[in-house]
Assembly symmetry: C2
Homo-oligomer: 303 residues x 2
């Protein structure tokens, strides 16, 4: 059975590969790296990029942390333990958020992670979702079709299940709109799924490896599209919504900030600039209005 | 004893007065008003201003809402009721956040509010705090001295108590820094304080009426100060921290967004533009570094 050390090393290599390929894709900027140690155990490699030709601001973070997890935190994770019992935990993963320069290119997020406890409990989690400033039906279809293939290669039920999960998770309730066109989201994937650990690990690897082809395609199809002040202004407002989701609702962000995680690594997901306007209204028959109409759950993007 | 109707009407008039005086102070922009009704009972008047000579974006909101409060919400408020019992609540107040154009002028926030339940429980709450992009010791002293006078006129223990409460409340734990130079914060002020309801109401009125003189002074002393690109850049980063506090930590914001409050009114506190930069560093011996050094609890600003 796959061991946490192999998983950790593979995630490290995934980070290396993705950073290298993103630097090639961008063509101008490169990543800077901060290695950090967590006093309670473990650490990470945060990599940040900015002011690129394609990527205005982004991060590709790896971490592998461990330590003691007290009963009240285990309870939040719905892990049954005797009162006052604590367990040792190990958590490793790769997290990515990229904010492109062009408002015609979508924001992308990916996370793949592995978690285990000293009582033998383990699970995988992860997801990829796309946040176009302007929704393009054909590119949304390409994105979801690719994800469906990744899912289908493992289990024919996964795409529907994880697509709906993403719709529910990446939902800005106080705005009654989804963060973008969704993607896939999964958590606590373990042997109760009916698949063996090695099979699930292969799935998670496939998700991780799909990131660069998925995003490269979105970039290639959008980077030459013209835009002006109007589109830049809209991009900044949409980034404001991205900030709202991440700071108000994202479980990973909230958990990280509350548990004394490394703030700069957690908040690498923030955009370089964001705007807010009181009660902003979009014009009738505009592309902005069309996008807002498409920020809802349950759309079948694959046509 | 003062009745909720009188309190409500006074808050409405406070909103009118403050908006009028801020329009005079600004000299260029005026407020727009949105009246709104809450399906469950009550409503409000949200007033927003933007693109002024002094105020780049701001809001002065009044609301008076009522309805049924279920046991689990009462529990959050530490109100003891029998299981499953619900009570009628009434809540009214004025909330203000102003983001000035000049990075040399501070952001300001004020809130005054009244809450009562059908079982006879009532309390006042509120606060004023200042968030300079650049901390100026003399102006911080002026701000706190004025607040101390407002507090002292009611109770000689209030300033210290409410100043420390503000230090603790307006603290961005994940950044280990205060939001600004603090001010005063108080909650659940009722007859257990030893003062009668009418006396507490006079205090709350005095806090409300101190807003315009307090901010006018800060504006007058800073509006002619020169600034350039460097200061504007810093202002945007500090506004990013303001966003972090409001979305991650502010109880009113979180409660409002979670309980289906009016999102646009709640998020009037957001700045027009905000920036984030991975692991931003300030120069040694810079005014930015001096400001960061002063964003901590327990400073006695009155000298």
């Amino acid at each position: 059975m796959i061991h946490k050390v192999e998983i950790t090393n593979w995630f490290k290599k995934l980070q290396d590969d993705i950073c290298h390929q993103l630097e090639v894709l961008d063509g101008e900027s490169t990543f800077i790296e901060d290695k950090w140690l967590r006093p309670e155990g473990g650490g990470g490699r945060s990599r940040a990029i900015k002011d690129g030709a394609i990527i205005e601001k982004g991060g590709v973070n790896f971490s592998a942390v461990e330590g003691s997890m007290p009963a009240h935190v285990l309870k939040v994770l719905h892990v049954d333990v005797d009162k006052e019992q604590s367990l040792q935990f190990y958590a490793t993963g790769v997290s990515i958020v990229l904010h492109p320069r062009s408002p015609m290119t979508p924001i992308i997020h990916m996370n793949v992670r592995y978690f285990e406890l000293s009582n033998g409990i383990w699970w995988f989690g992860g997801g990829i979702d796309l946040t176009p400033h302007y929704v393009n039906d054909a590119l949304a279809s390409d994105f979801h079709s690719h994800l469906k293939k990744v899912c289908d290669s493992c289990d024919p039920t996964y795409y529907n299940k994880f697509k709906n999960w993403a719709d529910d998770y990446f939902f800005i309730s106080h705005r009654n709109e989804t963060r973008g066109i969704g993607g896939i989201f999964f958590d606590r994937l373990n042997a109760t799924s009916g698949l063996a650990k090695n099979e699930l690990w292969t799935f998670v690897q496939n998700v991780g490896e799909s990131f660069v082809p998925l995003y490269s395609h979105q970039v290639q199809q959008t980077q030459e599209l013209p835009y002006g002040e109007n589109e830049k202004k809209w991009q900044l407002l949409r980034r404001g919504r991205y900030v709202e989701f991440n700071l108000v609702l994202d479980r990973g962000t909230k958990f990280g900030l509350q548990t004394n995680g490394r703030t700069e690594s957690i908040l690498m997901s923030m955009p370089p600039h964001a705007d807010w306007e009181y009660a902003h209204q979009v014009d009738e028959d505009s592309r902005e209005k069309d996008t807002l109409f498409k920020l809802r759950k349950g759309i079948d993007w694959i046509k």
